[in-house]
């Protein structure tokens, strides 16, 4: 093959490729532009869908949280109304705070639902922030109420154990009258009384520490004071509970001893009177 022929083939090939490219490029270009627009549109739609899904998810979560808190507050109010050891003004104050909080929560739920329905994202954002603010009050009322309720029950148990101690004293005296030594029971009874008295004092102290707490409203000093009071009150309740458990063990040991003394007395009288 001579050089002229080769050159002609090469030039033809280059021209052919150039012509083909020139014809095909606009099509490719057009196709690329079209694809980009579609991609942008799809991306925008996807973003919009994601935003809606995110808002719906946030609203649903908020509504669930609010419902949970309303339920917790309603249960607490029932419990608070049954408390005996709070003064009527303290009970009324706590109950009123709980009711106010329930109303706030329900109003907030209605507002959030309205925001969602009207696609008012700015209002929704404000309302979501209100949940946090409302939660600061909720976060004080719930431990305040549960501590008051626990303290009230502890006091009731302590008083019941003190009442029981009178019956136990009677049985110990009866056993001693038959000649049975009841030294350990007498010691247990003294411990029982001391533990019941301490439990009562601890429970009353716990109630007193939380009864007058107020929401911090963002004040760091009040927040610290509230947290310190709640923790101290919880420690009091735990001490009262331990006291009462010990007092119950004391009572159990005394009852076993007086029953044993009764059996001994019965056995003795059977032996002496065949």
């Amino acid at each position: 093959m001579n050089y002229k022929k080769i050159n002609a083939v090469v030039v033809s090939a280059i021209v052919g490729i150039a012509l083909f490219s020139a014809g095909a490029m606009p099509v490719f270009a057009q196709g690329t532009t079209s694809t980009s627009a579609t991609n942008l549109r799809m991306r925008a739609q996807k973003n919009a869908a994601n935003t809606v899904a995110r808002v719906t998810q946030t609203v649903n979560r908020a509504i669930t949280e609010i419902a949970n808190r309303v339920n917790a507050l309603t249960s607490l109010e029932t419990r608070v109304n049954a408390i005996q050891k709070l003064s009527s003004s303290e009970k009324s104050s706590l109950s009123s705070q709980i009711q106010t909080q329930i109303t706030t929560m329900k109003n907030l739920q209605a507002q959030i639902t309205a925001d969602e329905n009207s696609n008012s994202t700015s209002s929704l954002k404000t309302d979501m922030q209100s949940i946090t603010k409302a939660y600061r009050i909720y976060a004080l009322i719930i431990p305040q109420g549960t501590i008051a309720a626990a303290g009230d029950r502890a006091t009731a148990i302590a008083n019941a154990i003190t009442t029981l101690s009178v019956s136990l004293q009677t049985r110990i005296t009866q056993a001693q009258a038959t000649g049975v030594t009841m030294t350990s029971s007498i010691s247990a009874l003294a411990d029982l009384k001391a533990k019941a008295a301490d439990a009562d004092a601890q429970a009353q102290a716990a109630i007193g520490k939380v009864a007058s707490l107020v929401p911090d409203n963002g004040d760091a000093t009040v927040l610290q004071a509230n947290n310190a009071a709640l923790k101290a009150a919880r420690t009091d309740i735990q001490t009262a509970q331990k006291d009462l458990v010990t007092a119950r063990q004391d009572a159990q040991s005394i009852i076993q001893a007086v029953k044993a003394a009764e059996k001994t007395k019965a056995a003795t009288s059977t032996t002496s009177n065949p």
Partner: protein, 95 residues
């Protein structure tokens, strides 16, 4: 029997019947009267404490008292668990 005596007996019977009816109405009104001052709730609350234990000294009384105290202590355990849970959620929220 003279007419006068019959009238007197009739009046006495009528007075007795009216008295009985009035007494029954009064009794039913007292029973259905709503509790306005919350005294019923107070009575129930204070009776809760009193019914934890009896003042009896028999074995059965003491056993029953111990069962009641144990039940109340279980309730106290539940109460303290609620206290712990409420304070845990408080500290999580920054309160």
């Amino acid at each position: 029997m003279s007419k006068k005596i019959k009238i007197i007996i009739g009046v006495i019977v009528a007075v007795v019947v009216i008295g009985i009816v009035w007494w029954m109405i009064k009794k039913s009104q007292n029973a259905s009267q709503p509790n306005v001052n919350g005294t019923e709730a107070t009575a129930n609350e204070s009776s809760t404490e009193n019914t934890i234990v009896s003042t009896g000294t028999s074995d059965n009384d003491l056993d029953q008292d111990m069962n009641n105290i144990s039940a109340q202590l279980n309730g106290l355990s539940s109460d303290t668990a609620n206290v712990d849970a409420s304070m845990a959620s408080s500290s999580q929220s920054g309160q």
